[in-house]
Amino acid sequence: MFFKMYKYRWQYLMVLPAIVLLFLFNYIPMAGIQIAFKDFAIGSSIWDSNWIGLDNFSFVHDPQFWVVVQNTLSISVLKFVFGFPMPILLALMINEVTHSIFKRFVQSVSYLPHFFSWIVVAYILQSFLTLDGGIVNDIIGNLGGKPIFFLGSTDWFRPMIIASSLWKEVGWNTILYLAAISTIDPQLYEAAKVEGAGKLAQIRHITLPGILPTISIVLILSIPGLINVGMDQIYPLMNSANQQVADVIDTYVLRNGLQQGYFGMATAVGLVSSLIGLILVVTTNAISKKINEEGLW
């Protein structure tokens, strides 16, 4: 055995940095979860801190925590309801475009927002929605309406989040569907035309069944992400005026942990969220095995 391992010494050397990095930045933090059950302060040692049982889990009595859970669920469900079907619809529309230059142009432009950070998206929203010369409030004013302070409104926060995440990702998420559509045998369409099938019938009976496997894979793979509502997007747009609807699990952990120093409690919240994530991934794997006869790993 040792001889065999020696033979592969260079291969081990290649894998070594990855193993060390995972140990340092994934496994040690996993061991660090124990501070969820300890009285830990930064600067002291994790291992020497005192066990305090479930005291850090007292956040379940914090009303704000349940608001946060509710916000996380709402945003996550809304994002899914709009974010899942729209790329399919867009891919079907792009596929119907006969003019090839226009088609390529639409594809290029619609992928573009994917490459900008959520910070840039937040700036776009701010510039459009500001009260000082923003175009949206200008138009509302010209129509005789009262200006709306969108950025500090509890009613407008969710529409803003959903619309901007659609804007940013809808085009990008068509790529897999368009690739799947391009593998459909053109003869099927020819045959359907001979039979007298119209466009809608062709989409229903050829295109949609053709991309159904892709749809089901994308659907399955989106399950683990349900717990992850996109703090990158929410944090920059959150402020004291809209916090009641904007605060999600990740921002709650961030505020209580990194900003206010309640490390034990924030780790405990993070642990609950990681466990839910784990359950979602395992469930996803089971579903994937059943449907595609292949697991995720």
Partner: protein, 297 residues
Amino acid sequence: MKPTSLERVGQWLIVLILTMLCLSILYPFLYMLAISLNTGADAAKGGVYLWPRSFTWFNYQVVLGNEVIRNAYKITIARTVLGTFGGLAVTLMAAYGLSYKLLPFRNSILTYILITMLFNGGLIPFYIQLYKLGLTNTFLVYIIPSLFSVWNMFVMQKFIQGIPEAMIESAELDGAGPFRILLQIIVPLSKPMLAALGLFTAVGHWNDWFAGAFYVTNQQLIPVQTFLQQLLTAQDLSSVLSSNENQEVLREQSMSNITLMSIKMATVMISALPILAVYPFLQKYFVKGVLIGSVKG
């Protein structure tokens, strides 16, 4: 078969919808560009929608004169270059090392890697680990923790499996060691895959604001996106006007002409322009990258 008149209406409707989608993506950049090239006080009155009404370079002069911003640019470029090449190197080495099916403990190592995809310690234990390692408030916090990407490794493995084994075997017979095979056979053959994954990694580094906002407090170390994030919620211009080299320009213009919004727009345009400039040329690699990644490993 001729399209029915209903189908022709449908075609036009699709073209209309797609055109509007493209406009909704391109227009915000035009709008922000117009405001950034307009004097601030004038823009705040509203009505600047397409091109500047009262043209000035002044906002850009102020932004580019700021030392923190120019420094942030250097940080962003440095982390993007180092993070991308370092990340590709570490990840490719691991992927190649593990492509040897006979490697003793190969499955154990793969499981060790896979577990990190399923479960993590959460933000707080990760942060504490960065702190313990002395990485907080250093430039390396942008590079080291993200060097190894599990996801990219699986994509690379899939790709390497497609390289004919005969090529590797014949090189081995010629006495080439694993490192030489990696450099002289694997890397040249994997160029399209490396280009695609490298671009995604680079975009990730370019757009990341989180690490700069929470793992670093020294303003000399923040990247552009973190600067933007701070400026987004700034109440005044002190962060831009202090340590500004263009004091002459600042004296020439009356202060009432500078507004927070116009300075913000100039700053965000400066961060967005590089992506807008390279995107048309690199777009096809990105699409290829998605399709490589989607082939299940």
